[in-house]
């Protein structure tokens, strides 16, 4: 599995306009449906599922990273997108710090394995400090695309 198998150019948001949890999630889901990997009519359902998951505990896992995720029947495979909040967002992260990097995932209801594999790959890549630093410096979608492609080519393997 590669990052670009489930993170699709066209859905990246290098400079998120929102500065609250619901706004960020909505912005990323709106971006995701632009790629047609999730149907336009499913936006509010997916947003609700993601917010419901956040109520069980923030997906802000620390170190400025959040991985909002949920299952939703409108998708056929794991799909996701990347967003950056250069100013930092209060996402109620588990370490109490602001969040700068968002990897949002939506999985089909019965694909725990696909979800876990996508998370594994994202986490392995984010463990690489150089990747993280470059990621936070991205300001355009093209820069994000190039960085993820470099990661897929093994440039940031641990």
């Amino acid at each position: 599995m590669k990052l670009t198998d489930f993170l699709f150019p066209g859905a990246f948001v290098p400079q998120l306009a929102s500065n609250d949890k619901e706004g960020i999630i909505r912005e990323l889901v709106e971006a995701l449906v632009r790629t047609r990997k999730a149907p336009r009519g499913s936006v509010s359902g997916i947003v609700d599922a993601l917010l419901e998951r956040e109520r069980l505990g923030s997906t802000g896992i620390g170190k400025g990273i959040a991985v909002p995720h949920a299952k939703h029947r409108s998708v056929r495979e794991v799909v996701g997108t990347v967003g950056l909040g250069p100013q930092g967002v209060d996402f109620a992260a588990l370490d109490g710090e602001l969040v700068y990097v968002f990897f949002l995932l939506v999985s089909p209801p019965n694909d725990s394995a696909g979800h876990l594999a996508a998370l594994e790959l994202i986490a392995q890549t984010l463990k690489h400090e150089t990747f993280c630093r470059f990621l936070r410096q991205c300001r355009t979608e093209q820069e994000l695309v190039e960085l993820l492609e470099e990661a897929d080519q093994g440039k940031y393997a641990l």
Partner: protein, 98 residues
């Protein structure tokens, strides 16, 4: 197989099978880190030769541990034995997920 000693540099090594139905995804990882962080002992989780700091959610997610995964839990420090017991129990009982 577990070595347990109650001394400052105690180290416990346990082989554990992950029972969590959906694997070590974000919530169980967060729960594990929360509990692991209450101990002074260093906590490591190994899978297929890859090592994760048991007090880092990102590290645990990077293991991609699915249900039935065979993990090695290593705790090192003054409360290593207590940490091993609690954390092994969490991995083996499935974090109360149904």
């Amino acid at each position: 197989m577990s070595r347990q000693q109650d001394e400052p540099q105690a180290e416990c090594v346990s082989e554990v099978e992950l029972r969590n139905p959906t694997g070590l995804h974000t919530r169980p990882a967060a729960t594990f880190v929360d509990r692991a962080s209450k101990f002074r002992a260093e906590v490591l989780l190994l899978k297929d030769g890859r090592e994760a700091n048991g007090k880092s959610i990102l590290d645990l997610l990077a293991l991609g541990a699915e249900r039935g995964a065979h993990l090695t839990l290593i705790t090192r420090g003054p409360d290593a034995a207590a940490a091993a017991e609690v954390l092994r129990g969490m991995l083996e009982t499935g974090f109360d997920e149904t």
